[in-house]
Symmetry: C2
Subunit: 360 residues, 2 copies
C-alpha cells in the first residue's frame, strides 16, 4: 500500500498523499529550488489577494522551558490546512534542527485529509518567498545589496529568493557563529552573488539596501538599533516570531512604517509586541491589493515584521500538493479507514475482512 | 525506509513511528479489543489523576456548512499531543466515516514528533473507555441493563466497554436507521449480551440502569426528555459535543448531577451549552481523585456530559505508542529531516548527499 505510485484517484475516498522529507527533496531537485520559490511566491500572492475568504485564527502555542510547539490552522470554503511546527534554539546542540514542521491539507466538505507533508524544507521556501513578496512591495526598486544577519538554516533560501525576485546581487553576512557563515558562503558559491563576510552586525548593515534578520535565540535580542538603520532601508525581520523573541530595538520601529501579515497575531508574536496596542501597522495583503500604500518615499524605512502566518502554509501545502501530483511523487498512506459500511467501524476488526478492508 | 521494522532506536534522532489503519487493526487484533479498552481505561485513569500536570486548552474548531474540523492539543512536561478530528454527519451518504481522526505525540524537550497514528479506531476505543471509567464512578454498582441510543460506528465499542468494566449484560437498542441497529446486533452476536431491538428511544430507555446516547446529527436534538428518565439512572451523553449539537432536553439536566471532563470546554460544546454559565457541574477527575462526590444516592440521576477532551487522546496515543513498540508494529517515516549539520537545511538539496541525508 505504501509503495503504490499516486494517481488522480488520490482525490477520492479516504486516501492521503504522503510527502516525506525524501520526496520533498526529490520534488525540489526535480523542479529546481528557484522555480519552487517562484511558484510558492505566486501561490502566496494569489492567496493573499483573497485574504477575506479565509477563516483566520492566531496559532495555538505550547511553550516550555526550551522551546515552543505550535499548531497553525487556516481554512477557506474548500480546504482546511494546518501546520505543526516547533522552535527549540538548543536543538542544534543535539544535532536536531531548531525548527521542524509538517502539515496537512484537508477537504472542508468531508474532513478527509488529502495531503500530509513534511514542512521543514517547505517552510524555509515559503518563508523566503513571503519575505521576497513583501520586499517587492516595500523595498526600494533599485535595491541590490542585502545584509543577512543570522546565517542558519533559513539563510540560503532568503538569499536565493531575494536574488531572483528582487535582483539582490551583493550579500553582507554576519552570524555570531562563524561556522554558520562559512557554511552559507560555501552553499552560495557559484550562485551569482558577491559575498562579504562581516565581523559585526553593524559592519554588515552599513550601506545595505535591505537588511534581513533571521536569528534563532528565544530572547528579546537587539540585533538592530536605530543608529544602524539608514534612510531608505527595508528591514525584513524574520527571526522575531513569538512572545519574548524579538530582534529590533523599539527605536527602529518608531521611525519606520511597519507591515505585518495578520495584525491580531503579530501584536502578540512580532517585533511590535514591544509597542503600545495602538502602534500603527498595515497588513501586507492590503498593499498587495493596492488599497493601502507601501513605501511612501525613497528615504522611508520600511519593516516587514514577519512572524509566519498559517495562510502561508496553506499556500505552501497547495503548491506541494499540486507539484507532487504533477511529478508523480509521494505515497498513499492509510491514515484514515476505508470501510465498506462507514457506520461499521467495528467491522474493520473482523479478522476475515481486515486484509481487504484496509486495501487502498 | 518505510518498510523497516521499528526498534527502540525510534526514540532517537528525528524518526517518527507511523501507525496507520492497517497497523492499528493488527494492534487491536493481536492484543484483543477487550484488552485494548481495559488498557486505555487504565491509562485514562492514570492521566486523569495527574490532571494538574497538563496544560489544557479548549479545542480549535473550524465549522463549515456540513461539519467541523478540530485540532485538540494538550501537553505535560514530557509530551505534547494533538488530535485532528472531523465531524461530518452527511459523510456516510458518500461512503465516508462521519468521524475520522489522527494524532501525534511529540517530545516537549525537542519538538520532535515520536508517533503519528490513525485515531479513528483509537478514538472509538478511548471514548468507550472514558465512558466506562466515568460510569464506574457515577452509575449504580448494580447496573446490568443499558439502553444504547444511536447504533452507529461508536456503539459496539460502548457495549463492550460497559460489559467488561461495568458488568452490563442486557442492551436495549434504538436507532432511527434500522440498518444501523441490525449491524450492531450482528456485530454483538456471541459477545455475551441479551439484546432487545426497540421501536423508539422511549421503549429502549424504559427500565434501563444506564442510558448511552451516541447519535450523530449536528442539531439541538432532544433524544431524551425528563419524562423518560427514571430515578437512579446514569446517562452517558456522548453524542452532543459541539456548539449546536446536543442530545438531552434541558429538563433532564435540571434534575441531574452533571459531570464533565474539562469545564471550560464543556460549557461551549456539551449538553450544558443550553444552561446558564453558573449551572453547577463537577469535573470527573475530582471524583476519580476522591476530592468531590460522584453519585450521592441510589435514586439520583447522574449525567456524564462527555465531549471528548484532548487529554483522552494523549492517553490513547500513549497506549498506542507503547503497545505498537511492544508488538513490533508500525513503520518509521521521514516526517522530519535528518541532517549532518542541522544549520544546513540547504545541504539536504545537494544532489550527491540527498540519498544519504534522508536515510533513517
Amino acid at each position: 500500500m505504501l509503495d503504490q505510485p499516486p494517481s488522480t484517484a488520490i482525490h477520492t475516498a479516504t486516501q492521503t498523499l504522503y510527502v516525506g522529507t525524501r520526496d520533498m527533496v526529490r520534488l525540489v531537485q526535480r523542479k529546481g529550488l528557484p522555480a519552487c520559490i517562484a511558484g510558492v511566491a505566486e501561490q502566496l500572492r494569489r492567496d493573499f489577494l483573497r485574504w477575506n475568504e479565509f477563516e483566520k485564527t492566531a496559532r495555538v502555542a505550547s511553550h516550555s522551558r526550551d522551546g515552543v510547539i505550535e499548531l497553525m490552522p487556516v481554512a477557506d470554503a474548500a480546504r482546511f490546512a494546518f501546520k505543526y511546527v516547533n522552535g527549540h534554539p538548543k536543538n542544534t546542540r543535539e544535532g536536531l534542527p531548531t525548527v521542524m514542521a509538517f502539515g496537512v491539507l484537508a477537504d472542508v466538505a468531508t474532513g478527509a485529509p488529502r495531503l500530509l507533508s513534511e514542512l521543514t524544507l517547505a517552510t524555509a521556501i515559503r518563508t523566503a518567498a513571503m519575505s521576497a513578496v513583501a520586499a517587492q512591495a516595500l523595498a526600494r526598486p533599485d535595491s541590490r545589496t542585502m545584509a543577512l544577519i543570522g546565517n542558519g538554516a533559513q539563510s540560503e533560501f532568503q538569499a536565493l529568493a531575494f536574488r531572483d525576485l528582487l535582483g539582490i546581487r551583493e550579500l553582507r553576512l554576519f552570524d555570531v557563529d562563524p561556522a554558520a557563515t562559512a557554511k552559507l558562503v560555501a552553499n552560495l558559491d557559484g550562485q551569482g552573488f558577491s559575498l562579504t563576510v562581516c565581523a559585526s552586525t553593524a559592519e554588515a548593515v552599513r550601506g545595505a539596501d535591505i537588511v534581513t534578520t533571521v536569528t534563532a535565540d528565544k530572547t528579546n535580542a537587539t540585533i538592530l538599533t536605530s543608529e544602524l538603520v539608514e534612510p531608505g532601508m527595508h528591514l525584513n525581520a524574520v527571526g522575531g516570531d513569538c512572545p519574548g523573541k524579538t530582534e529590533l530595538h523599539r527605536g527602529v520601529l518608531e521611525r519606520a512604517s511597519v507591515f505585518v501579515e495578520f495584525e491580531a497575531q503579530t501584536r502578540i508574536e512580532g517585533e511590535i509586541q514591544q509597542m503600545p496596542a495602538d502602534f500603527p501597522v498595515t497588513e501586507l495583503w492590503q498593499v498587495l491589493a493596492g488599497t493601502r500604500p507601501g513605501r511612501c518615499s525613497a528615504d522611508a524605512v520600511t519593516v516587514f515584521d514577519s512572524v509566519g502566518f498559517a495562510l502561508e502554509d496553506y499556500s505552501a501545502l497547495s503548491f506541494v500538493h499540486d507539484t507532487a501530483l504533477a511529478l508523480g511523487l509521494g505515497q498513499r498512506i492509510d491514515l484514515m479507514p476505508l470501510q465498506d459500511d462507514p457506520k461499521d467501524l467495528f467491522g474493520l476488526l473482523r479478522e476475515e475482512r481486515a486484509a481487504a478492508a484496509v486495501m487502498v
